[in-house]
Structure formats: C-alpha cells, structure tokens
C-alpha cells in the first residue's frame, strides 16, 4: 500500500519561522527512515503508536514525508537546490526500527528498543538503546552506544568508538581512534583499530571468541579469575604485562604467546604491533576506569 502524505499537509503545519511540528499515526510494526544531509537527527521514544516530528529547517528548507509500505520516510529537502541544514527531533514508538542517515549530520537516539541503523560522514553518533541489529557508522565522528542487545556493528574512521552495557555479538572498529568496551556480555567480540587503544571489560564466556587488535595502541583486557580461555597475545615492539600469573604451559613463538587459562574453552587474541598488552583483573580495570572519569570531570570543570 502506497500512501503519499502530501507535502501540502506538512507545509500547512509549518509556521513561517521555518519549523515543522506534526504527529503522524503509524501502523504497528512500522519503521522509520530519516535522511538529513546536514544538521541533526535526534530520536526519543514513547509508548504511543504515533511519530511526533519537530524539525527546524529555516525558510528555505522543507521536510518530505511519505509512507511506503510499512516505512515512514522523512527526507530533508530544500526549495532552492542547495541543501539546507535541518535539525530533527523525533519521538517514535519504543520498538520502531530506525534507519537514520546523513552527511554532515549528528545523530542521537535515546530509549528506542528496536533495530537501529545510523550512518553519517561528518558527525557523531550517540545511541542509548537498540536491539536486534544495531549498525552505526561514522567517518569523521565518534560513535557511542550504550544499553543495546543483539548483533552490534559499530565503526568510525577518525574518532573513538565507545560501547557500554551491551549484550550480544559485537564488531567495533575505527582507524584513528580508540575502541573501548565496558560492561559487555558477549561470546563474540571483535575490536580493531590502527591508531588507538583497545579496552575490554566484560565477560569471557566458555566457547566464545574475542579478538582485539591495534597497530599503535595498547590493549587492555579484563580477565576474570575463573575465565576459561586460550589466550594468544602478540606484539612486535611492545610489552606484555599481566596482573596475575600466566601459566607457563603455553606455546611461544617469536612474537606470539599462547596461554591456557582454566579449561581454555574460549579463544582470545590480543595483538598490537607497537603497543603494550595488559591483562588485568576486573576490579583493577573498574578502579582505573573510575579514576579516569574523575579526571575527565576535573578537565571539564
């Protein structure tokens, strides 16, 4: 079923100062797609089956909305050809699946419990929530994700990637930035960067696979006391430092060491070409993390 919400409907709701405020009823299970060349896309959640749209677009900008199948499509457009900056503030049903994209766009999502795909080029992505499939890509922008579950794929190119309180399968990557994973419950984690540190604090489940890679940065991993993991650490120029005894019963090649902790059930690889590899107990990691937060607060004050 193809229903076109005519531009007239929205335009008539747009006050002269270049804002749009409207609420659209959507069928249950509908998904939302927003494309905004420049500006912001901010999404909140509520329990109603309607989508509330607030957009500030100036007098040259406009919003096009259409319902195609089960997807509500919002597109920022401009009356005069050159794209204008639009700031969206959208409230959606809690379980609505989201596809958000833009170029010079900052994306923020809070409280949504459906699948989320967000892509931008120059802009940060900040998501709290998400379940099912969560895919976040930025080029020049940091990517932060919290409180999500499912199949998670998060990457940036030139900035940091931060994941916290996530459960599910995780793939986190950047090139010029750090990857930090905190409060993770997962049996499949891959975290890679070239120029930056990698930090992992989370479960090491039996049978799981965990891969941490950096070229220039340090890798810091929390290893719980009772973890059963076959751990391979490799570094060409860095140091390997563990807060606990690493069992000698392992294999050693020139740059690569393998240790078996407990039953060795999970497999973990931590490799950094130039950086150090640190293996810590969870309590140590958490203490250090709190100190870092305190420092950050100090800096911001």
């Amino acid at each position: 079923m193809l229903t076109m919400l005519t531009a007239a409907v929205l335009a008539s709701l747009a006050p002269v100062q270049g804002e749009t405020d409207t609420t659209i009823a959507v069928p249950a299970g509908a998904s939302l797609s927003v494309n905004n060349f420049g500006g912001a896309i901010v999404v909140h959640a509520w329990t109603q089956n309607r989508v509330k749209i607030h957009a500030e677009h100036g007098s040259r900008g406009a919003i096009e909305a259409s319902l195609v199948g089960n997807t509500l499509i919002l597109k920022a457009s401009s009356r005069h050809g050159a794209p204008s900056v639009v700031d969206f503030d959208i409230t959606v049903p809690q379980t609505m699946a989201l596809t958000l994209s833009g170029t010079y766009t900052e994306i923020e999502v809070d409280g949504v419990r459906g699948a989320i795909t967000a892509e931008t080029v120059d802009g940060s992505i900040d998501v709290r929530g998400g379940s099912g499939i969560v895919t976040l890509h930025s080029v020049q922008g940091s990517v932060t994700l919290a409180d999500a579950t499912g199949r998670i794929e998060v990457n940036s190119i030139n900035e940091d990637v931060e994941l916290s309180n996530i459960s599910g399968q995780i793939n986190a990557e950047t090139t010029n930035g750090s990857v930090s994973l905190w409060g993770i419950k997962s049996a499949s984690v891959e975290a890679t960067t070239i120029n930056g540190d990698v930090e992992y604090e989370g479960t090491i489940t039996d049978g799981g696979t965990y891969t941490f890679n950096s070229h220039n940065g340090d890798i810091k991993i929390s290893v719980p006391e009772n973890a059963n993991v076959t751990l391979t650490v490799a570094t060409a120029n860095g140091d390997i430092d563990a807060s606990f005894q690493l069992p000698f019963r392992g294999t050693r090649e020139k740059h690569r060491y393998t240790f078996k902790l407990g039953s060795g059930s999970a497999r973990m690889e931590a490799e950094s070409f130039q950086g150090d590899i640190e293996l810590r107990r969870p309590s140590e990691m958490q203490m250090h993390h709190k100190d870092k937060d305190k420092d950050k607060e100090h800096e911001e004050n």
Binding site: V121, V139, T175, N176, H215, A234, A236, R256, Q274
Partner: protein, 215 residues
C-alpha cells in the same frame, strides 16, 4: 611361565593399574624373577616400537597423487570453502582479502608440476611474501585509482579526513613491512601486514561507495 599376574604386566608397564593392584603387583615382582624379566622385556618392546623409523616408499608415489588431484589445472578458489581459526595463515588471509567485496579477484594458479623430476623446493619465505603482497598491492592500487577519480564527489573536508585515515594506515603498513623484512618467516608479522592491508582495502571500498552515493 605364566602366573596370575602375567597378563596384567602390560597394564603395569603402561601405568594403568589402580593403586591397590599396583602395590600388590609390585609386592609380587619383588619375589618373582620371571615376572621381573617379562616386565623388562615388555619395556624394551615398547621402547623399540617408539624407536621405529619411518621409511620411504620404494616407488615415487607423487605422480599418482598429482594425477588424481588434477594438479596443473587452474582451481577456482570460490569453489573451495576454507576457514581457519586465528592465528590465521597467510594464504587464507590474502584470499579472503581479495574475495570479500568482489574487487580484484585472482585465482591462485598452481605452477606447473614436473611429473618425475625433483620436487620444487619451497620458495624462500622472502619470495613467499613478495608473491602475496604483490597481488594485494595491485588490488589496493586499483581501488585507489577509483577513489582518485571519484573523490571530487565528496566535499573537501571529507576527503581530508579520508586522506588522514589513509595516511594512518599507510604508515602502519610501512611499519609492518619493515618489521617483516627483518623477519620474513614470522607468522605473526605476516598476518599483521595482511590484516593491515585488508583494512586499507576495506577503507577504500567504503569511501568509494560513499563517493558514488553522493550523486
């Protein structure tokens, strides 16, 4: 000569007797020369078994094998699924690099095999590295050309950011290559270079997709 313990002597030699039985048998051995001699003999047999040398087959069996596996034909990589656990091995990494994303794909053509001649010696590790990086370098160069043609579609600040990322990866690749030259047979260094080059390929593909989407 047989007594009630004779049949258990192999288990004793293999340390498979339960504690109580072993103690009892050892007590018996203290008094039975025949059994002691047998234990000695059994140990010698085991030692002799372990010392058996492997000997070469009299005939050269390779040509028969080569014929049956169709050596000398070009093999379509795509029809052979393979996966290795990390630590991965060089060829797997290369093939994956070149296959995933459908850019530059090359079949690994096995060189001609002389049917009866002396076997081809393994390429020195330095040569091995040259082969695989050569192909990957070509794939990267291809994608780089595509990017150069398309980058005008991206705005300048994006291009700048992307170039920064390229610089980062290129430097990492150069460092990995240098380390590898000093140590060409090291598995980790080979892998690391392969991984880093793969990151470059992926980045190139991604920005090319980005550029073509900006139309």
């Amino acid at each position: 000569m047989n007594d009630q313990w004779t049949d258990r002597l192999s288990e004793y030699v293999d340390d498979e007797l339960a504690n109580g039985e072993r103690t009892a048998l050892e007590a018996h051995l203290a008094t039975c020369a025949a059994c002691r001699a047998t234990v000695e003999d059994l140990r010698k047999v085991v030692a002799r078994a372990r010392a058996l040398d492997d000997s070469a087959p009299k005939a050269n069996l390779w040509p028969g094998v080569a014929k049956r596996i169709g050596a000398g034909k070009v093999v379509d990589i795509r029809s052979r699924r393979f996966s290795f656990n990390v630590p991965q091995l060089i060829a797997a990494s290369i093939a994956l690099m070149l296959l995933s994303g459908g850019g530059a794909w090359l079949a690994l053509k096995p060189p001609q095999i002389a049917s009866d001649g002396p076997f081809t010696p393994a390429p020195s590790q330095g040569q091995l590295q040259a082969t695989w990086t050569g192909k990957t370098d070509a794939a990267i160069a291809d994608l780089q050309n595509v990017f150069d043609r398309n980058k005008s579609r991206l705005d300048t600040s994006t291009v700048r950011v992307v170039q920064q990322a390229f610089t980062t990866i290129d430097r990492a690749i150069a460092e990995a290559r240098t380390a590898l030259q000093a140590d060409p047979s090291d598995a980790y260094l080979n892998l690391h270079l392969a991984d880093t080059m793969r990151r470059k390929l992926e980045l190139l593909r991604r920005v090319n997709a980005l550029a073509t989407a900006q139309s």
